[in-house]
Protein backbone atom coordinates (compact mmCIF):
# COMPACT_ATOMS: atom_id res chain seq x y z
CA UNK A 1 0.00 0.00 0.00
CA UNK A 2 1.29 3.43 -0.96
CA UNK A 3 1.22 6.60 1.10
CA UNK A 4 -2.25 7.53 -0.14
CA UNK A 5 -4.75 4.85 -0.97
CA UNK A 6 -8.42 5.13 -1.82
CA UNK A 7 -10.63 2.14 -2.24
CA UNK A 8 -14.18 2.13 -3.61
CA UNK A 9 -14.39 5.76 -2.54
CA UNK A 10 -17.74 7.46 -2.92
CA UNK A 11 -18.60 10.97 -1.82
CA UNK A 12 -22.01 12.63 -2.03
CA UNK A 13 -22.72 16.30 -1.45
CA UNK A 14 -26.12 16.27 0.18
CA UNK A 15 -28.34 19.32 0.15
CA UNK A 16 -31.08 19.41 2.74
CA UNK A 17 -34.10 21.65 3.03
CA UNK A 18 -35.08 23.43 6.25
CA UNK A 19 -36.67 20.30 7.73
CA UNK A 20 -33.50 18.33 7.16
CA UNK A 21 -35.03 16.29 4.35
CA UNK A 22 -32.64 15.36 1.62
CA UNK A 23 -33.33 17.70 -1.28
CA UNK A 24 -30.59 16.85 -3.69
CA UNK A 25 -27.73 14.37 -3.77
CA UNK A 26 -24.71 15.20 -5.87
CA UNK A 27 -22.22 12.41 -6.33
CA UNK A 28 -18.81 14.09 -6.60
CA UNK A 29 -16.69 10.95 -6.36
CA UNK A 30 -17.98 7.67 -7.68
CA UNK A 31 -16.07 4.51 -6.85
CA UNK A 32 -12.52 5.81 -6.99
CA UNK A 33 -9.61 3.37 -6.72
CA UNK A 34 -6.22 4.95 -6.30
CA UNK A 35 -2.85 4.08 -4.82
CA UNK A 36 -0.08 6.66 -4.68
CA UNK A 37 3.55 5.73 -4.11
CA UNK A 38 5.59 7.66 -1.57
CA UNK A 39 7.96 10.16 -3.20
CA UNK A 40 6.00 10.49 -6.43
CA UNK A 41 4.95 13.76 -8.04
CA UNK A 42 1.39 13.09 -9.10
CA UNK A 43 -0.78 15.53 -11.04
CA UNK A 44 -4.54 15.27 -11.04
CA UNK A 45 -6.28 16.87 -14.01
CA UNK A 46 -9.93 17.40 -14.60
CA UNK A 47 -12.33 20.18 -15.54
CA UNK A 48 -14.20 22.20 -12.91
CA UNK A 49 -16.67 19.90 -11.21
CA UNK A 50 -14.87 16.68 -12.12
CA UNK A 51 -14.40 15.75 -8.45
CA UNK A 52 -10.68 16.45 -8.19
CA UNK A 53 -10.97 19.07 -5.44
CA UNK A 54 -13.36 16.90 -3.49
CA UNK A 55 -10.80 14.12 -3.63
CA UNK A 56 -8.09 16.49 -2.36
CA UNK A 57 -10.21 17.27 0.69
CA UNK A 58 -10.64 13.56 1.35
CA UNK A 59 -6.92 13.07 1.59
CA UNK A 60 -6.47 15.01 4.81
CA UNK A 61 -9.81 14.28 6.33
CA UNK A 62 -11.50 17.64 5.75
CA UNK A 63 -14.21 15.60 4.03
CA UNK A 64 -14.89 12.01 5.02
CA UNK A 65 -16.04 9.27 2.63
CA UNK A 66 -19.75 8.59 2.15
CA UNK A 67 -18.69 5.05 1.29
CA UNK A 68 -15.33 3.33 0.87
CA UNK A 69 -12.06 4.11 2.58
CA UNK A 70 -9.08 6.46 2.31
CA UNK A 71 -5.80 5.54 4.01
CA UNK A 72 -2.94 7.93 4.64
CA UNK A 73 0.25 6.07 5.60
CA UNK A 74 -1.95 3.20 6.65
CA UNK A 75 -4.26 5.35 8.82
CA UNK A 76 -7.94 5.44 7.93
CA UNK A 77 -9.22 9.01 7.59
CA UNK A 78 -12.38 8.02 9.46
CA UNK A 79 -10.34 7.09 12.54
CA UNK A 80 -10.88 10.07 14.84
CA UNK A 81 -7.90 9.17 17.02
CA UNK A 82 -5.59 9.80 14.09
CA UNK A 83 -7.13 12.87 12.54
CA UNK A 84 -4.28 15.22 13.59
CA UNK A 85 -1.65 12.66 12.55
CA UNK A 86 -3.32 12.44 9.18
CA UNK A 87 -3.47 16.22 8.74
CA UNK A 88 0.18 16.65 9.60
CA UNK A 89 1.22 13.74 7.38
CA UNK A 90 -0.74 15.05 4.42
CA UNK A 91 -0.59 18.85 4.42
CA UNK A 92 -2.85 20.91 2.21
CA UNK A 93 -2.41 24.09 0.17
CA UNK A 94 -5.56 25.75 -1.14
CA UNK A 95 -6.44 27.81 -4.19
CA UNK A 96 -6.95 31.27 -2.72
CA UNK A 97 -3.66 32.53 -1.27
CA UNK A 98 -5.34 35.12 0.93
CA UNK A 99 -7.81 32.81 2.60
CA UNK A 100 -5.29 30.41 4.07
CA UNK A 101 -2.75 32.72 5.66
CA UNK A 102 -3.60 33.24 9.31
CA UNK A 103 -0.60 35.14 10.62
CA UNK A 104 -0.08 38.87 10.28
CA UNK A 105 3.64 38.35 9.76
CA UNK A 106 5.09 35.72 7.42
CA UNK A 107 7.15 33.84 10.02
CA UNK A 108 4.27 33.77 12.49
CA UNK A 109 2.05 32.23 9.87
CA UNK A 110 4.59 29.51 9.13
CA UNK A 111 4.74 28.77 12.86
CA UNK A 112 0.97 28.37 13.13
CA UNK A 113 0.86 24.66 12.28
CA UNK A 114 3.65 23.59 14.66
CA UNK A 115 2.04 25.69 17.41
CA UNK A 116 -1.19 23.77 16.95
CA UNK A 117 0.74 20.51 17.19
CA UNK A 118 2.26 21.62 20.49
CA UNK A 119 5.82 21.58 19.14
CA UNK A 120 8.32 23.11 21.66
CA UNK A 121 9.27 26.72 20.98
CA UNK A 122 12.87 26.13 19.91
CA UNK A 123 11.85 23.39 17.54
CA UNK A 124 9.19 25.70 16.03
CA UNK A 125 11.85 28.27 15.24
CA UNK A 126 14.08 25.64 13.67
CA UNK A 127 11.20 24.41 11.53
CA UNK A 128 10.15 27.92 10.52
CA UNK A 129 13.72 28.74 9.48
CA UNK A 130 14.05 25.54 7.46
CA UNK A 131 10.64 25.83 5.81
CA UNK A 132 11.14 29.45 4.78
CA UNK A 133 14.54 28.53 3.39
CA UNK A 134 13.07 25.58 1.47
CA UNK A 135 10.57 27.79 -0.36
CA UNK A 136 13.03 30.67 -0.75
CA UNK A 137 11.09 33.13 1.38
CA UNK A 138 13.59 33.76 4.17
CA UNK A 139 14.11 37.35 3.06
CA UNK A 140 10.41 38.07 3.57
CA UNK A 141 10.00 36.52 7.01
CA UNK A 142 9.12 39.76 8.79
CA UNK A 143 6.84 41.11 6.08
CA UNK A 144 3.07 41.35 6.24
CA UNK A 145 1.45 38.75 3.96
CA UNK A 146 -0.64 41.55 2.45
CA UNK A 147 2.48 43.04 0.92
CA UNK A 148 3.41 39.90 -1.01
CA UNK A 149 2.59 38.86 -4.57
CA UNK A 150 0.24 35.94 -5.18
CA UNK A 151 3.09 33.55 -5.92
CA UNK A 152 4.93 34.59 -2.76
CA UNK A 153 1.80 34.10 -0.67
CA UNK A 154 1.43 30.59 -2.00
CA UNK A 155 5.05 29.87 -1.15
CA UNK A 156 4.36 31.05 2.39
CA UNK A 157 1.36 28.71 2.51
CA UNK A 158 3.60 25.86 1.33
CA UNK A 159 6.16 26.74 4.02
CA UNK A 160 3.34 26.67 6.58
CA UNK A 161 2.59 23.11 5.57
CA UNK A 162 6.29 22.11 5.43
CA UNK A 163 6.73 23.28 9.02
CA UNK A 164 4.40 20.47 10.10
CA UNK A 165 6.94 18.00 8.63
CA UNK A 166 4.51 16.29 6.28
CA UNK A 167 5.31 13.30 4.11
CA UNK A 168 2.95 14.48 1.48
CA UNK A 169 1.55 17.79 0.22
CA UNK A 170 -1.75 18.15 -1.59
CA UNK A 171 -2.12 21.34 -3.60
CA UNK A 172 -5.65 22.16 -4.72
CA UNK A 173 -5.28 24.39 -7.79
CA UNK A 174 -2.58 26.48 -6.12
CA UNK A 175 -1.93 28.49 -9.28
CA UNK A 176 -5.47 29.19 -10.48
CA UNK A 177 -5.41 32.76 -9.16
CA UNK A 178 -1.81 33.60 -10.10
CA UNK A 179 -0.20 35.28 -13.08
CA UNK A 180 2.27 33.32 -15.25
CA UNK A 181 5.30 34.38 -13.18
CA UNK A 182 3.61 33.39 -9.94
CA UNK A 183 2.66 30.07 -11.49
CA UNK A 184 6.21 29.23 -12.54
CA UNK A 185 7.49 30.26 -9.11
CA UNK A 186 5.08 27.96 -7.24
CA UNK A 187 5.55 24.97 -9.55
CA UNK A 188 9.32 25.29 -9.35
CA UNK A 189 9.10 25.35 -5.55
CA UNK A 190 7.04 22.18 -5.28
CA UNK A 191 9.27 20.35 -7.73
CA UNK A 192 12.23 21.24 -5.55
CA UNK A 193 10.50 19.99 -2.41
CA UNK A 194 9.69 16.76 -4.19
CA UNK A 195 13.24 16.29 -5.42
CA UNK A 196 15.26 17.51 -2.45
CA UNK A 197 13.09 16.58 0.49
CA UNK A 198 11.42 13.55 -1.03
CA UNK A 199 7.96 14.93 -0.31
CA UNK A 200 5.12 13.19 -2.12
CA UNK A 201 3.23 15.80 -4.15
CA UNK A 202 -0.37 15.66 -5.26
CA UNK A 203 -0.90 18.63 -7.59
CA UNK A 204 -4.42 19.41 -8.70
CA UNK A 205 -4.56 21.76 -11.65
CA UNK A 206 -5.95 22.43 -15.08
CA UNK A 207 -2.89 24.07 -16.49
CA UNK A 208 -1.35 21.46 -18.75
CA UNK A 209 2.10 23.09 -18.78
CA UNK A 210 2.38 22.36 -15.07
CA UNK A 211 2.11 18.61 -15.33
CA UNK A 212 4.63 17.71 -18.02
CA UNK A 213 7.35 17.05 -15.42
CA UNK A 214 5.15 14.95 -13.13
CA UNK A 215 5.91 11.26 -12.51
CA UNK A 216 2.31 10.35 -13.01
CA UNK A 217 -0.80 12.06 -14.36
CA UNK A 218 -4.34 11.13 -13.40
CA UNK A 219 -7.38 12.48 -15.21
CA UNK A 220 -10.71 12.65 -13.42
CA UNK A 221 -14.10 13.14 -14.99
CA UNK A 222 -17.50 12.98 -13.39
CA UNK A 223 -16.12 11.50 -10.17
CA UNK A 224 -14.28 8.70 -11.97
CA UNK A 225 -10.65 8.09 -12.69
CA UNK A 226 -10.58 8.03 -16.50
CA UNK A 227 -6.91 8.21 -17.45
CA UNK A 228 -3.78 7.26 -15.53
CA UNK A 229 -0.20 7.19 -16.82
CA UNK A 230 3.00 9.11 -17.43
CA UNK A 231 2.64 12.60 -18.91
CA UNK A 232 3.80 11.21 -22.26
CA UNK A 233 1.18 8.49 -22.25
CA UNK A 234 -1.56 10.91 -21.27
CA UNK A 235 -0.60 13.66 -23.71
CA UNK A 236 -0.46 11.34 -26.65
CA UNK A 237 -4.23 11.02 -26.36
CA UNK A 238 -5.12 14.52 -27.43
CA UNK A 239 -8.63 13.67 -28.59
CA UNK A 240 -9.58 11.96 -25.35
CA UNK A 241 -8.24 14.86 -23.28
CA UNK A 242 -10.26 17.35 -25.28
CA UNK A 243 -13.29 15.15 -24.70
CA UNK A 244 -12.77 15.65 -20.99
CA UNK A 245 -12.79 19.46 -21.47
CA UNK A 246 -9.02 19.60 -21.16
CA UNK A 247 -6.31 20.85 -23.46
CA UNK A 248 -2.72 20.08 -24.33
CA UNK A 249 0.32 22.39 -24.63
CA UNK A 250 0.68 23.99 -28.07
CA UNK A 251 3.73 21.89 -29.03
CA UNK A 252 1.92 18.67 -28.15
CA UNK A 253 -1.02 19.74 -30.24
CA UNK A 254 1.15 20.71 -33.22
CA UNK A 255 3.00 17.37 -33.08
CA UNK A 256 -0.30 15.52 -32.83
CA UNK A 257 -1.79 17.41 -35.77
CA UNK A 258 1.31 16.82 -37.93
CA UNK A 259 1.33 13.13 -37.05
CA UNK A 260 -2.29 12.88 -38.10
CA UNK A 261 -1.22 14.16 -41.53
CA UNK A 262 1.37 11.40 -41.78
CA UNK A 263 4.48 13.18 -40.50
CA UNK A 264 6.65 10.72 -38.61
CA UNK A 265 6.83 11.86 -35.03
CA UNK A 266 6.68 9.96 -31.73
CA UNK A 267 3.59 10.09 -29.53
CA UNK A 268 3.14 12.56 -26.70
CA UNK A 269 5.71 15.25 -27.40
CA UNK A 270 5.85 17.53 -24.36
CA UNK A 271 8.46 20.21 -24.88
CA UNK A 272 9.76 22.55 -27.56
CA UNK A 273 13.14 20.77 -27.44
CA UNK A 274 11.58 17.37 -28.11
CA UNK A 275 9.56 18.66 -31.02
CA UNK A 276 12.60 20.30 -32.60
CA UNK A 277 14.71 17.18 -32.06
CA UNK A 278 12.24 15.02 -33.97
CA UNK A 279 10.85 17.47 -36.48
CA UNK A 280 14.15 18.88 -37.69
CA UNK A 281 15.47 15.61 -39.25
CA UNK A 282 12.11 15.09 -40.96
CA UNK A 283 12.21 18.56 -42.45
CA UNK A 284 15.88 18.30 -43.42
CA UNK A 285 15.46 14.97 -45.14
CA UNK A 286 12.50 16.32 -47.06
CA UNK A 287 15.26 18.04 -49.03
CA UNK A 288 14.39 20.48 -51.74
CA UNK A 289 11.21 21.81 -50.14
CA UNK A 290 12.95 22.84 -46.98
CA UNK A 291 15.34 25.30 -48.51
CA UNK A 292 18.24 26.66 -46.53
CA UNK A 293 18.24 30.31 -45.78
CA UNK A 294 20.67 31.96 -48.11
Amino acid sequence: MGIIKASRLIYDYIRRDEEDHVEEVNRAIDGLELDIKAGDFVAILGHNGSGKSTFAKQVNGILLPTEGTVWISGMKTTDENHIWDIRKTAGMVFQNPDNQIIGNVVEEDVGFGPENLGVPTEEIWRRVDESLEAVGMTAYRLKSPNKLSGGQKQRVAIAGVMAMKPQCIILDEPTAMLDPNGRTEVIRTIHELNRKEGITVLLITHYMEEVIWADRVIVMDDGHLVMDGTPREIFSQVKELKGYRLDVPQVTELAYELKKEGVELPDGILTIEELIEHLLPVLQSAGAKAVKDS
Binding site: K57, N60, I62, W84, R87, K88, G91, M92, F94, N96, D98, N99, Q100, I101, I102, G103, N104, V105, E107, E108, G111, F112, G113, P114, E115, N116, L117, G118, V119, P120, T121, I124, W125, V128, L142, K143, S144, P145, N146, G160, V161, M164
Partner: protein, 262 residues
Protein backbone atom coordinates in the same frame (compact mmCIF):
# COMPACT_ATOMS: atom_id res chain seq x y z
CA UNK B 1 -9.63 56.35 1.08
CA UNK B 2 -10.04 54.13 4.14
CA UNK B 3 -6.59 52.76 3.40
CA UNK B 4 -5.07 55.58 5.42
CA UNK B 5 -5.91 53.97 8.75
CA UNK B 6 -2.67 53.50 10.65
CA UNK B 7 -4.05 52.03 13.81
CA UNK B 8 -3.17 48.36 13.87
CA UNK B 9 -0.38 48.70 11.35
CA UNK B 10 2.99 47.33 12.22
CA UNK B 11 6.18 49.11 11.22
CA UNK B 12 8.92 46.48 10.94
CA UNK B 13 12.23 47.77 12.27
CA UNK B 14 14.35 46.53 15.13
CA UNK B 15 14.27 48.75 18.20
CA UNK B 16 14.22 48.38 21.97
CA UNK B 17 10.55 49.22 21.88
CA UNK B 18 9.87 46.52 19.31
CA UNK B 19 11.61 44.00 21.53
CA UNK B 20 9.69 44.91 24.68
CA UNK B 21 7.16 42.38 25.89
CA UNK B 22 3.72 43.33 24.52
CA UNK B 23 2.34 43.27 28.06
CA UNK B 24 4.85 45.92 29.03
CA UNK B 25 3.73 48.04 26.10
CA UNK B 26 0.04 47.51 26.84
CA UNK B 27 0.58 48.53 30.43
CA UNK B 28 2.73 51.45 29.36
CA UNK B 29 0.05 52.71 27.00
CA UNK B 30 -2.46 52.50 29.83
CA UNK B 31 -0.17 54.42 32.15
CA UNK B 32 0.35 57.07 29.49
CA UNK B 33 -3.39 57.47 28.88
CA UNK B 34 -4.07 57.75 32.60
CA UNK B 35 -1.30 60.31 32.94
CA UNK B 36 -2.90 62.46 30.24
CA UNK B 37 -6.07 62.68 32.28
CA UNK B 38 -4.20 63.39 35.49
CA UNK B 39 -2.04 66.12 34.00
CA UNK B 40 -3.53 69.56 34.47
CA UNK B 41 -0.57 71.89 34.31
CA UNK B 42 1.66 73.04 31.52
CA UNK B 43 4.63 71.48 33.32
CA UNK B 44 2.90 68.11 33.55
CA UNK B 45 2.22 68.21 29.83
CA UNK B 46 5.85 69.12 29.40
CA UNK B 47 6.82 65.90 31.15
CA UNK B 48 4.36 63.95 28.99
CA UNK B 49 5.82 65.57 25.87
CA UNK B 50 9.36 64.67 26.84
CA UNK B 51 8.25 61.09 27.58
CA UNK B 52 6.41 60.76 24.26
CA UNK B 53 9.28 62.23 22.24
CA UNK B 54 11.75 59.87 23.91
CA UNK B 55 9.54 56.86 23.25
CA UNK B 56 9.10 57.84 19.61
CA UNK B 57 12.85 58.26 19.21
CA UNK B 58 13.41 54.85 20.79
CA UNK B 59 10.89 53.21 18.47
CA UNK B 60 12.83 54.19 15.30
CA UNK B 61 9.50 54.66 13.53
CA UNK B 62 9.43 57.81 11.38
CA UNK B 63 7.39 60.57 12.99
CA UNK B 64 5.25 60.95 9.86
CA UNK B 65 3.82 57.47 10.49
CA UNK B 66 2.79 58.43 14.01
CA UNK B 67 0.79 61.46 12.98
CA UNK B 68 -1.02 59.72 10.18
CA UNK B 69 -3.51 58.26 12.62
CA UNK B 70 -4.52 61.82 13.50
CA UNK B 71 -6.32 62.26 10.20
CA UNK B 72 -8.99 59.85 11.38
CA UNK B 73 -9.80 61.95 14.42
CA UNK B 74 -9.44 65.38 12.84
CA UNK B 75 -13.19 65.94 12.86
CA UNK B 76 -13.57 64.87 16.49
CA UNK B 77 -10.64 67.08 17.38
CA UNK B 78 -12.15 70.16 15.71
CA UNK B 79 -15.51 69.67 17.38
CA UNK B 80 -14.18 69.16 20.89
CA UNK B 81 -11.77 72.05 20.54
CA UNK B 82 -14.45 74.47 19.36
CA UNK B 83 -16.87 73.36 22.06
CA UNK B 84 -14.26 74.00 24.71
CA UNK B 85 -13.17 77.26 23.15
CA UNK B 86 -16.54 78.93 23.05
CA UNK B 87 -18.63 77.26 25.69
CA UNK B 88 -16.37 77.55 28.71
CA UNK B 89 -17.43 80.33 31.05
CA UNK B 90 -14.72 82.68 32.36
CA UNK B 91 -12.85 85.86 31.56
CA UNK B 92 -13.88 87.05 28.16
CA UNK B 93 -11.31 87.86 25.48
CA UNK B 94 -13.79 88.80 22.77
CA UNK B 95 -17.25 87.79 21.67
CA UNK B 96 -18.94 87.22 18.28
CA UNK B 97 -22.70 87.15 18.73
CA UNK B 98 -23.47 84.63 21.42
CA UNK B 99 -20.08 82.99 21.08
CA UNK B 100 -17.69 84.04 23.78
CA UNK B 101 -13.99 83.26 23.73
CA UNK B 102 -12.50 83.02 27.21
CA UNK B 103 -9.07 82.53 28.68
CA UNK B 104 -10.34 79.43 30.47
CA UNK B 105 -11.79 78.13 27.24
CA UNK B 106 -8.53 78.66 25.42
CA UNK B 107 -6.64 76.77 28.11
CA UNK B 108 -9.14 73.93 28.25
CA UNK B 109 -9.30 73.60 24.48
CA UNK B 110 -5.52 73.54 24.31
CA UNK B 111 -5.27 70.76 26.88
CA UNK B 112 -8.12 68.87 25.25
CA UNK B 113 -6.41 68.98 21.85
CA UNK B 114 -3.09 67.92 23.35
CA UNK B 115 -4.75 65.11 25.24
CA UNK B 116 -6.47 63.73 22.13
CA UNK B 117 -3.40 64.07 19.93
CA UNK B 118 -1.12 62.47 22.51
CA UNK B 119 -3.63 59.71 23.08
CA UNK B 120 -3.70 58.78 19.40
CA UNK B 121 0.07 59.09 18.95
CA UNK B 122 0.66 57.16 22.16
CA UNK B 123 -1.47 54.24 21.08
CA UNK B 124 0.02 54.39 17.56
CA UNK B 125 3.45 53.89 19.15
CA UNK B 126 2.17 50.63 20.57
CA UNK B 127 0.50 49.33 17.41
CA UNK B 128 3.39 50.41 15.21
CA UNK B 129 5.96 48.57 17.32
CA UNK B 130 3.91 45.50 18.17
CA UNK B 131 2.69 42.95 15.63
CA UNK B 132 -1.03 42.29 15.93
CA UNK B 133 -0.17 38.74 16.96
CA UNK B 134 2.05 39.90 19.79
CA UNK B 135 -0.64 42.31 20.81
CA UNK B 136 -3.31 39.64 20.97
CA UNK B 137 -0.85 37.31 22.70
CA UNK B 138 -0.22 40.03 25.26
CA UNK B 139 -3.92 40.57 25.77
CA UNK B 140 -4.53 36.86 25.97
CA UNK B 141 -1.92 36.41 28.63
CA UNK B 142 -2.72 39.47 30.71
CA UNK B 143 -6.44 38.70 30.57
CA UNK B 144 -5.86 34.99 31.23
CA UNK B 145 -7.52 35.24 34.62
CA UNK B 146 -10.85 35.83 32.85
CA UNK B 147 -10.68 32.24 31.59
CA UNK B 148 -11.67 31.10 35.03
CA UNK B 149 -14.97 32.92 34.83
CA UNK B 150 -15.74 31.30 31.50
CA UNK B 151 -14.51 33.99 29.05
CA UNK B 152 -12.93 32.26 26.02
CA UNK B 153 -9.85 34.46 26.06
CA UNK B 154 -7.84 32.46 23.52
CA UNK B 155 -10.68 32.38 21.01
CA UNK B 156 -11.34 36.09 21.36
CA UNK B 157 -7.71 36.97 20.82
CA UNK B 158 -7.54 34.64 17.80
CA UNK B 159 -10.60 36.38 16.37
CA UNK B 160 -9.01 39.78 16.87
CA UNK B 161 -5.85 38.69 15.18
CA UNK B 162 -7.74 37.30 12.18
CA UNK B 163 -9.90 40.41 11.97
CA UNK B 164 -6.76 42.53 11.82
CA UNK B 165 -5.36 40.42 9.02
CA UNK B 166 -8.52 40.64 6.93
CA UNK B 167 -9.39 44.32 7.38
CA UNK B 168 -7.02 45.54 4.65
CA UNK B 169 -8.14 42.73 2.34
CA UNK B 170 -11.79 43.61 2.78
CA UNK B 171 -11.10 47.31 2.37
CA UNK B 172 -9.46 46.63 -0.96
CA UNK B 173 -12.30 44.35 -1.94
CA UNK B 174 -14.86 47.06 -1.13
CA UNK B 175 -13.02 49.36 -3.48
CA UNK B 176 -13.12 46.77 -6.27
CA UNK B 177 -16.83 46.02 -5.80
CA UNK B 178 -17.65 49.72 -5.85
CA UNK B 179 -15.81 50.11 -9.12
CA UNK B 180 -17.46 47.05 -10.65
CA UNK B 181 -20.91 48.42 -9.80
CA UNK B 182 -20.01 51.95 -10.92
CA UNK B 183 -19.05 50.42 -14.26
CA UNK B 184 -22.68 49.30 -14.42
CA UNK B 185 -23.88 52.83 -13.74
CA UNK B 186 -24.30 52.55 -9.98
CA UNK B 187 -24.21 55.84 -8.11
CA UNK B 188 -23.10 55.80 -4.50
CA UNK B 189 -23.04 59.53 -3.95
CA UNK B 190 -26.16 61.37 -5.04
CA UNK B 191 -29.74 61.05 -3.81
CA UNK B 192 -31.40 61.39 -0.44
CA UNK B 193 -30.76 59.17 2.55
CA UNK B 194 -33.19 56.43 1.51
CA UNK B 195 -31.78 56.32 -2.02
CA UNK B 196 -28.28 56.25 -0.64
CA UNK B 197 -29.09 53.36 1.68
CA UNK B 198 -30.66 51.50 -1.22
CA UNK B 199 -27.63 52.08 -3.40
CA UNK B 200 -25.49 50.29 -0.81
CA UNK B 201 -27.21 46.95 -1.48
CA UNK B 202 -25.19 46.16 -4.64
CA UNK B 203 -22.07 46.89 -2.61
CA UNK B 204 -22.92 45.10 0.61
CA UNK B 205 -24.31 41.86 -0.82
CA UNK B 206 -21.13 40.90 -2.73
CA UNK B 207 -19.02 42.06 0.21
CA UNK B 208 -20.88 39.88 2.71
CA UNK B 209 -20.89 36.89 0.42
CA UNK B 210 -17.17 37.26 -0.12
CA UNK B 211 -16.53 37.66 3.62
CA UNK B 212 -18.50 34.50 4.35
CA UNK B 213 -16.65 32.63 1.68
CA UNK B 214 -13.32 33.78 3.07
CA UNK B 215 -14.41 32.74 6.54
CA UNK B 216 -15.32 29.23 5.41
CA UNK B 217 -12.09 28.91 3.45
CA UNK B 218 -10.07 30.13 6.38
CA UNK B 219 -11.79 27.78 8.83
CA UNK B 220 -10.97 24.90 6.51
CA UNK B 221 -7.35 26.02 6.12
CA UNK B 222 -6.97 26.33 9.89
CA UNK B 223 -8.40 22.89 10.43
CA UNK B 224 -6.10 21.49 7.77
CA UNK B 225 -3.21 22.94 9.78
CA UNK B 226 -4.39 21.09 12.87
CA UNK B 227 -5.96 24.02 14.69
CA UNK B 228 -8.22 22.79 17.46
CA UNK B 229 -8.55 25.67 19.90
CA UNK B 230 -6.15 26.86 22.54
CA UNK B 231 -5.70 23.55 24.34
CA UNK B 232 -2.37 21.81 23.78
CA UNK B 233 -0.99 24.68 21.73
CA UNK B 234 2.60 25.75 22.09
CA UNK B 235 3.87 29.22 21.30
CA UNK B 236 6.38 30.27 18.71
CA UNK B 237 6.89 33.52 20.55
CA UNK B 238 6.12 32.85 24.20
CA UNK B 239 6.03 35.91 26.39
CA UNK B 240 8.90 36.30 28.82
CA UNK B 241 9.74 39.39 30.76
CA UNK B 242 13.35 40.41 30.18
CA UNK B 243 15.40 42.94 32.07
CA UNK B 244 14.34 45.69 29.67
CA UNK B 245 10.72 45.06 30.67
CA UNK B 246 11.46 45.56 34.36
CA UNK B 247 13.30 48.74 33.44
CA UNK B 248 10.24 49.73 31.43
CA UNK B 249 7.94 49.32 34.41
CA UNK B 250 10.33 51.36 36.53
CA UNK B 251 10.31 54.15 33.94
CA UNK B 252 6.50 54.19 33.95
CA UNK B 253 6.45 54.51 37.71
CA UNK B 254 8.89 57.41 37.71
CA UNK B 255 6.98 59.06 34.87
CA UNK B 256 3.59 58.71 36.55
CA UNK B 257 4.87 60.11 39.82
CA UNK B 258 6.48 63.00 37.96
CA UNK B 259 3.21 63.89 36.19
CA UNK B 260 1.23 63.75 39.42
CA UNK B 261 3.71 65.68 41.52
CA UNK B 262 4.41 68.46 39.01
Amino acid sequence: MIREITLGQYYPVDSVLHRLDPRTKLFGTMVFIVSLFLADSLAAYGVATVFLVLVIRLSKVPFSFMVRGLKAILFLLLISVSFNLFLTPGTEIFRVGFLKLTWEGLRLAGFMALRLIYLVIGSSVMTLTTTPNELTDGLEKSMGFLNRVGVPVHEISMMMSIALRFIPILVEETDKIMKAQMARGADFESGNLVQKAKSMVPLLVPLFISAFRRATDLAMAMEARCYHGGAGRSKMKPLHYARRDYIGYLVYLVYLVAVIVI
